[in-house]
């Protein structure tokens, strides 16, 4: 499947869900404010004075701690009067924390990033996002945004294949496809992500469609170790405790390679399991103006450049270059769900299978 297929399916699902709620003219709601203010490197409709008076911004994100800290620092440097803070949890855990807070009417977060479209649609259905049409959204394709736009926007493509320790595995012995990863020679030296990962859910969903449940019985037999983040996966692989990483993030490979680590990446013949990073402003945010200002900065060329330099992810912004050393999106084959709602409903089944694969149950 190609990229636009993924996005169109998402848009369709969203339209179906929220159209009864809208009732009126969607295009009016889509409009950017009349006179966006030109800032240093981006445009904004936010009230900058009010944002600075609020003086704080809170982000919830599944990005690694170091990445979120750097992103928040970059924004704080652009707006020194706005102090920044964040909570980092894997996407499933993050969504669950957010739900617990909102159920109790405790509002802590301004901007939310999730890496699982299922959760994004669920949150929108629950009225969790607030609409803000950023002038910077002009730089994004319609199918990378909510309909009507302004509720959420894709901020990255997170892609995963296979990776191996190039000191311990010869290229000719390395797997070429997802199917090759089932070779018994990887028994005990393969790792994967945990059940909380949105990307892992996508990989399971797509591979199950291709190869059925049997694939995961064979994978479980290899006794993969499940880790919370790609950092741990790569850490163990680079240090030689594991030899290959299953659902290895491409961005993690680029970061490790840049450090000079002995690691090689495999683009499986079936395609790369892919999930978007999705950013949106949360309803009842404690700092709504700062949140709008952040969205404008983040979605702009300046913000995306800063983000991609930190995370080595491919930006969905039109004309954005690939991350340093990485391939552009049009040169890779991507695998992702066509129906995100159906995808969301498979989560309990995925959780059950993945508990077996990683040995938690």
């Amino acid at each position: 499947m190609n990229r636009s297929g993924l996005s169109k399916a998402a848009v369709l699902a969203v339209c179906m869900m929220i159209s009864p709620l809208l009732g009126g003219d969607a295009s009016a709601a889509d409009a950017v404010c009349a006179k966006p203010r030109q800032m240093d490197g981006f445009k904004t409709c936010a009230d900058v004075d009010k944002a600075e008076q609020e003086g704080a911004l809170v982000l919830y994100s599944p990005d690694p701690e170091e990445g979120s800290a750097k992103l928040m620092n970059a924004f704080h440097q652009a707006f020194p009067k706005i102090n920044t803070n964040f909570i980092r949890l894997q996407t499933g855990a993050l969504y669950q924390k957010l739900m617990t807070e909102r159920r109790a009417k405790s509002y802590q977060v301004d901007v939310l990033q999730l890496t699982d479209m299922g959760f994004v649609l669920d949150f929108q259905k629950r009225g969790g996002y607030v609409q803000y049409v950023s002038p910077e959204m002009d730089g994004y394709k319609a199918d990378n945004m909510s309909t009507p736009k302004g509720y959420w926007t894709w901020s990255s493509y997170i892609m995963a294949g296979l990776a191996y320790n190039s000191n311990l595995v010869k290229p000719e012995d390395a797997p070429k496809s997802w199917k090759d990863a089932l070779d018994p020679k990887w028994s005990g030296v393969i790792n994967a992500k945990t059940v909380t990962s949105g990307l892992q859910h996508v990989a399971w969903y797509e591979l199950q469609k291709l190869y059925g449940d049997e694939y995961f019985d064979k994978l479980a037999a290899l006794q993969p170790r499940g880790f919370d983040s790609y950092v741990q996966q790569f850490d163990r692989m680079i240090s030689g405790q594991d030899q290959i990483a299953f659902t290895a993030q491409y961005s993690a490979y680029l970061l490790a390679k840049a450090k000079g680590a002995p690691v090689a990446f495999v683009f499986p013949t079936e395609g790369l399991a892919t999930t978007p990073g999705v950013m949106g402003i949360v309803a009842d945010a404690p700092h709504p103006n700062a949140a709008q200002l952040f969205m404008d900065w983040f979605l702009s060329e300046t913000g995306q450049k800063a983000y991609d330099a930190i995370m080595s992810l491919n930006s969905p912004r039109i004309g954005a270059p690939p991350p340093p050393g990485g391939l552009p999106l049009d040169q890779v084959k991507l695998l992702y769900p066509t129906d995100w709602q159906a995808f969301l409903e498979t989560r309990p089944e995925f959780a059950k299978v993945w508990a077996k694969v990683t040995g938690t149950r």
Binding site: A104, T194, R361
Partner: protein, 566 residues
């Protein structure tokens, strides 16, 4: 009312105050418990209170987790035995023998506790991981085959838990030994018993309440231990109840019901252990602080003091020197490699750790919480201990069971209970340090009670009765007799609660908000999502800060007490 206050000092206000403290503490423990029980029966949408659908299905599904429960009991028991043996041996060496540099060594014994099981586990992963652990690399270097150590195996996990949780046993047992009447040991020696025989036949039974107290406490701590099992168990695909609960609560939709049921199942194991320990304590007369004047005198162990000194230093080596060394080395590596010879060194990990800016506030918050929870908590716990072990107030035994509850359920589950309990009341304390303070006080009630109970049981009732007979008021008796006798217990409880608060992980991980970050979850997050080199640098900064805080604290305390004595 009169019947209720029977046995409580006849001071009406003091009695009422005690009753109030008792009721307040019991309710802050029971309040989250209600939520845990409700969730364990909830088969509807997780985390919705009151539950929409009730059933025993979550308990029935425990049958699928038998393997995890067995793993937990095995590791907890193994770790407890190791910790109590290590604690007893070290306490005996440092309080009852005349090895050189005892006072200083005693201070050093507390270091592993300050290091925290989290940092300890991270360090031992560097030291003894299969294939690339430093100790295994040395072993391969001298021609050894295979791996000498595998820290990811159950024994490795128990070892790390014992090393870094074991200090509690040491503190509890040595407090009991310090308060022991040495004349009994001396009699034994006069009648010709050897030193070892005396230690086993006289010293051990005399400090039995302390040892038993430590055993029960440490066992409960180990059942709910998370950090070591998390850092070391997951890479070894070895899951215990806490790590299974972690996985269950982190996915969406979360399996809260399963987590609560699993947590409550461990409660059953704890009730059995606590009941046995109470039966043993009731059987014997353990009062060893009597009216007779004595000063615990160390035994002259002759030449044996050198091997004993080596044992004490051996513990420091494996619990402090080697782990700190390993972390230090890793924190300067560009990336952890399979071969030490390939290492590229850099200071960039420290630069990154300092510049991310998330650690600073977490340190400050943890220190504020440690100081305030220990300072407010200890007097309250002191009153509770006195009521439970000295007064005749009806129902005091049931209150003890209630107050021990937070220790009997894994901290992660109790943390969830606290989250649901406090997020669902209309007071906006979620996301603030207040909530963490209340949570810490609640979960450390058992720690304080156990530590002080070991000493209270040893103080002969006759001393207090004597004071009362001589006409002293209850207040005067407390001030002049009870409190001075209990001072070692009070000091130990303060220190333990302070450190336990600074390093708390299980409850904080659910309760901290963006504005109330604390240190252990911050390190866990760094460990989960940063390279091991960066986590090592963060762990080194944590360790250095905690050590510095403790040194500062002791210096201030010494000056303060010195000034008062003058």
């Amino acid at each position: 009312m009169r019947a209720l206050l029977r046995g409580v000092p006849r001071f009406g206000i003091a009695g009422l105050l005690m009753l109030l403290v008792l009721l307040l503490c019991a309710s802050i423990v029971l309040y989250p418990v209600v939520f845990i029980v409700a969730e364990s029966l909830n088969v509807g949408e997780p985390g919705v209170f009151p539950p929409e659908q009730l059933s025993l299905r979550n308990f029935a599904s425990i049958s699928q987790d038998v393997g995890v429960l067995v793993n937990t009991l095995l590791v907890a028991f193994g770790a407890t035995v190791m910790a109590v043996v290590i604690g007893f041996v070290l306490a005996w060496i440092l309080t009852r023998t005349n090895i050189p540099g005892r006072t200083r060594l005693e201070r050093l014994m507390e270091l592993p506790y300050y290091m925290t099981p989290l940092v300890g586990a991270m360090a031992w992963a560097v030291l003894a991981a299969p294939k690339n652990g430093l100790l295994n690399q040395v072993w391969h270097g001298i021609g050894g085959r295979g791996d000498l150590f595998n820290i990811y195996a159950p024994l490795g996990i128990a070892w790390v838990m014992a090393l870094f949780e074991g200090t509690v046993a040491f503190v509890m047992i040595s407090a009991a030994m310090k308060s022991m009447d040495p004349s009994l040991e001396e009699s034994s020696r006069v009648f010709g018993a050897g030193k070892l025989r005396t230690a086993l036949r006289i010293t051990l039974p005399l400090v039995a309440p302390g040892v038993l107290s430590a055993f029960v406490f440490v066992f409960a701590e180990m059942l709910g231990a998370f950090a070591a099992a998390f850092v070391l168990g997951i890479p070894g695909r070895f899951y215990v109840v806490t790590t299974a609960i972690w996985e269950a609560t982190q996915s969406f939709p979360p399996e809260y019901g399963r987590a609560a049921a699993l947590g409550l199942s461990l409660f059953a194991a704890m009730v059995v252990t606590l009941t046995i320990s109470k039966l043993i304590m009731r059987r014997g007369a353990y009062a060893t602080i009597t009216g007779k004047a004595f000063r615990p005198r160390p035994i002259d162990v002759g030449h044996a003091r050198w091997p004993l000194l080596a044992v004490a230093w051996g513990y420091i080596l494996v619990s402090v020197i080697l782990p700190v060394g390993a972390l230090l080395l890793t924190s300067f590596q560009r990336f952890a490699t399979v071969n030490l010879a390939d290492s590229v060194f850099t200071v960039s990990n420290y630069v990154t750790a300092m510049s991310t800016g998330t650690l600073g506030q977490a340190f400050v918050n943890s220190l504020i919480l440690g100081l305030s929870v220990a300072t407010i908590g200890v007097p309250v716990i002191g009153v509770l201990t006195w009521i439970i072990y000295r007064s005749q107030m009806p129902g005091r035994t049931s209150v003890e069971y209630v107050l021990m509850f937070p220790q009997a359920v894994p901290r992660l589950v109790f943390g969830l209970g606290l989250l649901w309990a406090w997020i669902n009341i209309p007071i906006p304390i979620y996301g603030t340090l207040w909530l963490l303070g209340i949570a810490y006080f609640t979960v450390f009630l058992p720690l304080g009670l156990r530590t002080m109970a070991g000493v209270v049981l040893q103080v002969d009732r006759s001393l207090e009765e004597c004071a009362r007979v001589c006409g002293a008021s209850w207040m005067h008796q407390m001030r002049t007799v009870s409190l001075p006798l209990l001072r070692p217990g009070i000091a130990a409880a303060w220190l333990l609660i302070f450190i336990a608060s600074v390093r708390e992980l299980g409850a904080s991980i659910f309760l901290m908000g963006p504005q109330s970050k604390v240190i252990s979850p911050a390190i866990i997050n760094a460990w989960l999502s940063s390279s091991s080199e960066l986590s090592a640098a963060m762990a080194m900064i944590l360790t250095a800060t905690v050590f510095a805080a403790v040194i500062l604290l002791f210096t201030v305390a010494r000056r303060f007490s010195g000034a008062r004595e003058v």
